[in-house]
């Protein structure tokens, strides 16, 4: 009640009620005078507009009919790094209707329907657009007419009142599915888009970038509309153009992608579902970015048929899913080089130190055995051999010595668990588990066994193919590279310094993977003429019984495809002065060494040439 007391605080001054009311009265007089002046001003203003200048405005109203028309800017092209066209604008024809010139709707639609087929979908869209448009504005009824349709309409033109065939530019992706997930596509603008984008800039536009580059660089690609002042006759037909302010066309966008590399990557995947990412190690420029299977983005441009869209959604291979950007895969053994660096930097292991692999690892008092993929173990193992042969026991032990939180901290330095910052929207984070994360997520304590399997890239830890490629580029460049980008470079990431004395040891192990006598991917060295370094990985999809070998590639072929393991590969080349980093994920491919590594090697060979 303090507030109330302060509020009502009595005054020391003696109050003179009559005098106070008089003060207020005087003020009311002032107020009345101001209001009167304002009202007189308004009356005068309307007299000026409606009486003095009436003729002027009446003729302008007549001429409102001198209409302003927005002119759509031409969308910028999208080019690859060598200037080859990846997205273009093709001339096409569309059928438009000017509402106020149609005497009889039913008759018109029947007549047009006899000449070209108009789907229910097109009719519904047309009716919606008609509601919004002004009566003299042309509303599209059917887009992307075939040439025979144009010819038939032209022949019957004199009978079709209010109907016109109009040339326009339509977006086209000449390489179809090859770039579907990177470029995305444009789609028709709807009411909600207009509200979001600002109706002024998009008044004349029909399309807007929906996904991929088309969406991320919408502002650059779209341009600014122009304005045309046209004189129209009473029917709203343009008589002549009085004034024209040309639109500022969208800018062309040159990407870092290389058409040849992209093709090589897609061909190497050879029908598998998966992703391939190729990065320039020095800058982070993305040279190839494939998610397979793809889809034809062209069918989205003029509105995809609902049945076709449903088919894409129902396809069990999920062609619409952007694997390189949003796929969350257990990295499997591809995480080992990064963990090795963590172990070296934290002083948990020494590159020369050897340990003995008898084929399995056991946590004190737990009883469960965590196995090597090789029955009977690998014998005495140092770091190089641990990477070359992908010795699980070596990394189980190291993982336990590091502990989960230290592992997470070290792996975060290589970009795991956070978006890489590529210039596309909707990038996935992957996941780097910690004790705190698990408590927050499940309200459960962290189990030691979960640390063990994180050591071989399994359990909660997941990464996107883009993260794997970026981490590999960081390793290849010994700590400094830019975030992956397709057009606009980003600042180089913080250099990972504290791994400094250890790069060579880990890289040597990755060379042995391919070129060593016992390397897991030694088979590919025989088929490919270049020297490179890498690491294979296999991520379990189907949990095998505890006492079976954790990952036995030979058994994989006997499983149905959707239960087979994901195959992974990361690598870089050339060995001495790395220029390219790559990541390959093959869903249900079986084994990293048998499936992903050959794909990686194949792409590398084409890229290095």
């Amino acid at each position: 009640m303090k507030l109330a007391r302060w509020f009502k605080q009595a005054s020391a001054r003696v109050r003179d009620g009559a005098a106070e009311l008089k003060v207020i009265d005087r003020r009311f007089q002032w107020l009345g005078a101001v209001m009167l002046a304002c009202l007189l001003l308004l009356a005068g203003r309307f007299a000026q507009l409606q009486i003095v200048d009436h003729e002027l405005y009446a003729s302008r109203a007549e001429n409102n009919r001198v209409a302003l028309r927005a002119l759509a800017p031409t969308r910028g092209l999208i080019l690859d790094r060598k200037g080859r066209v990846l997205a273009e604008n093709r001339p096409a024809y569309r059928l438009v209707v000017v509402p106020e010139r149609v005497p009889d709707w039913e008759a018109m639609l029947d007549q047009v329907g006899a000449l070209v087929t108009i789907s229910d979908d097109e009719r519904a869209r047309f009716n919606r657009a008609r509601q919004r448009a002004r009566r003299f504005q042309a509303v599209p009824l059917k887009t992307n007419l075939r040439s025979d349709e144009v010819a038939r309409l032209a022949a019957h033109r004199h009978r079709l009142l209010g109907v016109e065939v109009e040339p326009y530019l339509t977006r086209h992706y000449p390489h179809g599915a090859l770039f579907a997930h990177v470029l995305g596509y444009v789609g028709r603008i709807d009411e909600r888009d207009l509200e979001r984008l600002g109706p002024d800039r998009y008044r004349a536009s029909t399309h807007v970038g929906r996904t991929g580059i088309e969406q991320a660089y919408e502002r650059v690609l779209h341009g600014q509309p122009g304005v045309e002042t046209v004189e129209t006759n009473a029917q709203g037909r343009t008589v002549r153009v009085l004034e024209r302010q040309a639109p500022a066309n969208g800018q062309d966008l040159q990407l870092t992608l290389d058409l040849d590399f992209q093709r090589a990557a897609a061909e190497a995947l050879d029908g598998h579902a998966g992703a391939v990412v190729v990065l320039d190690v020095d800058t982070g420029a993305v040279r190839a970015l494939v998610s397979a299977p793809g889809y034809d983005p062209n069918q989205f441009v003029n509105g995809i048929a609902p049945s076709a869209y449903q088919a894409l959604l129902d396809n069990p291979r999920r062609p619409l899913f952007n694997r390189f950007l949003q796929g969350a895969y257990e990295p499997g053994s591809t995480i080992k080089p990064f963990l090795a660096l963590a172990g070296l930097a934290e002083g948990v292991i020494d590159s020369d130190e050897e340990m003995f692999s008898r084929g399995w690892f056991e946590l004190d008092g737990e009883g469960r055995r965590y196995r090597d993929w090789k029955r009977g173990g690998h014998g005495w193992v140092d770091l190089t051999k641990a990477l070359a042969e992908s010795v699980n026991v070596y990394f189980y032990e190291m993982a336990v010595d590091l502990g989960i939180d230290r592992m997470a901290r070290e792996l975060a330095l290589f970009g795991f668990g956070q978006p890489t910052g590529i210039d596309l929207l909707g990038e996935g984070d992957g996941l780097l588990p910690t004790r705190a994360w698990k408590r927050g997520q499940f309200g459960e304590a962290w189990f030691p066994g979960e640390t063990v399997i994180t050591g071989i890239g399994q359990g909660f830890v997941v990464a996107t193919p883009l993260q794997l490629a970026h981490a590999t580029a960081l390793l290849a460049a010994e700590g400094r590279t830019g975030a992956p980008y397709l057009h606009t470079p980003t600042a180089p990431s913080q250099r990972v310094v504290h791994a400094d004395p250890h790069w060579d040891a880990v890289k040597a192990g990755m060379v042995e993977v391919i070129h060593g006598p016992t390397g897991t991917a030694r088979a590919v060295a025989q088929d490919v003429p270049i020297r490179f370094a890498g690491k294979t990985g296999t991520a379990q999809v189907f949990g095998l019984p505890d006492d079976a070998d954790a990952v036995d590639e030979r058994e994989q072929d006997n499983l149905p495809e959707h239960l087979r393991n994901h195959a992974l590969f990361v690598g870089f080349a050339p060995i001495d002065d790395p220029k390219w980093a790559i990541s390959v994920v093959v869903e249900h491919g079986g084994g990293g060494a048998t499936v992903a590594a050959p794909i990686g090697a194949d792409v590398m060979a084409r890229v290095v040439q």
């Binding site: 507030l3 106070e20 009311l21 107020l31 304002c38 309307f46 509200e195 304005v227």
Partner: protein
């Protein structure tokens, strides 16, 4: 006894003023007629608006019954509540781009609307507890309250309502007898603050002002609205094109003809005479309210009525200036005529407060 007398007596029984109610009713009827034309003769618009006005009249009736001493007692708490809701809306409000609404699940509520009534109320209560004209401290505190209230609304961002609330509040301080030299000082302060305010305006608000100064700068966007509205108004002439036959309004050159630009439709279809008739009704409403204020013998009632009347007046002037190109488009509706609910309800509630403060009668008593 004539029918009129009976009506007037009946209204005064429920603490309402017959003359004011007659003027308000006339205005709302004209509003509905213009709305019918502006909305392409869509009866559902008229029905919806009638329902809203009905809700507003109910709110008016309820507020008119609250005795003055309760208003005096509640003023600081009502204001505190409105202020708290404005702060909450900053954090959790929902709205398209602008944070204006509080969503209580069942109903959505715009706290800035409550400010239109509670700010004059609290200032009048605060100042009338002290000797008038107010001395320096109360003046400063009042001005700070106005600043905080309209500032919070400005950052929502809702420039139109911020102006209405700000002028309503300042009007109370002015009516309380603020000394001229303080007014001069405040004026200088505002002039000095203008550059800072400009920097704090959102881009779309700056654009509106720049476009207002030069409509051709953006002939397809905001400028389009101003140009088209002036054409509609100007082509109306002396007596207009007639109800339902304004070509500009119906050819859809005019933007939002049923909300912010409804006065343009009136001007086109009923000409200068129609404009003057409606302006005169607005003037009479204001004059009647000022009369009611004058009949009150205590500063509190006078100040509250003055504040609310001024913000009503500012509504009219800003909207009418906006459609005739005298002011930038700031999104202020035309009171009791524009289509839209919240402002109509608040306005009618405000008139309820005015009539309740004036009435000496107890509810349904003699």
């Amino acid at each position: 006894m004539s029918l009129q007398r009976i009506g007037a007596n009946g209204l005064s029984l429920i603490r309402l003023d017959a003359i004011l109610m007659g003027l308000l009713g006339l205005l709302m009827l004209i509003g509905l007629a213009v709305l019918y034309s502006a909305g392409e003769q869509d009866a559902s618009l008229v029905v919806n608006q009638s329902i809203r006005l009905g809700v507003g009249l109910a709110a008016m009736l309820v507020l008119a019954q609250v005795p003055k001493r309760l208003w005096l007692l509640w003023a600081p708490y009502l204001f505190g509540l409105a202020l708290a809701m404005l702060l909450v809306v900053e954090w959790v409000g929902v709205g398209r781009g602008a944070q204006r609404w509080l969503d209580f699940g069942v109903i959505r509520f715009q706290p800035s609307e409550a400010m239109k009534i509670t700010l004059p109320l609290v200032l009048a209560a605060y100042l009338s507890e002290r000797p008038l004209p107010p001395s320096l401290m109360p003046t400063l505190i009042s001005v700070v309250l106005v600043g905080i209230s309209s500032g919070l609304i400005l950052v929502q961002p809702d420039l139109g309502t911020a102006i209405l609330v700000g002028t309503g509040g300042l009007a109370v301080v002015f009516l309380a007898g603020l000394r001229w030299r303080m007014i001069a000082g405040l004026g200088a302060l505002v002039m000095a603050a203008l550059p800072a305010m400009w920097l704090n305006l959102r881009d779309y608000q700056k654009n509106r002002i720049l476009t207002f100064l030069d409509p051709e700068r953006d002939p397809l966007g905001q400028g389009w609205n101003i140009i088209q509205s002036k054409i509609a108004v100007g082509s109306g002439g002396w007596s207009g094109t007639g109800w339902l036959s304004g070509s500009q309004s119906h050819l859809e050159f005019l933007p939002e003809p049923h909300t912010d630009f409804i006065f343009s439709v009136l001007a086109e279809e009923f000409g200068w005479l129609g404009v003057m008739a409606v302006l005169v009704i607005y003037a009479l409403i204001i004059i009647r309210c000022l009369q009611l204020a004058h009949q009150c013998t205590d500063p509190f009632a006078r100040l509250v009525i003055g504040g609310i009347v001024v913000s009503f007046f500012v509504y009219v002037v800003v909207n009418v200036s906006m459609v005739s190109g005298l002011l930038p488009v700031v999104g202020v509706p035309l009171p009791l005529m524009s289509y839209g609910g919240t402002s109509a309800v608040t306005l009618l509630a405000g008139f309820g407060l005015i009539q309740g403060l004036h009435s000496r009668r107890r509810f349904m008593g003699h």
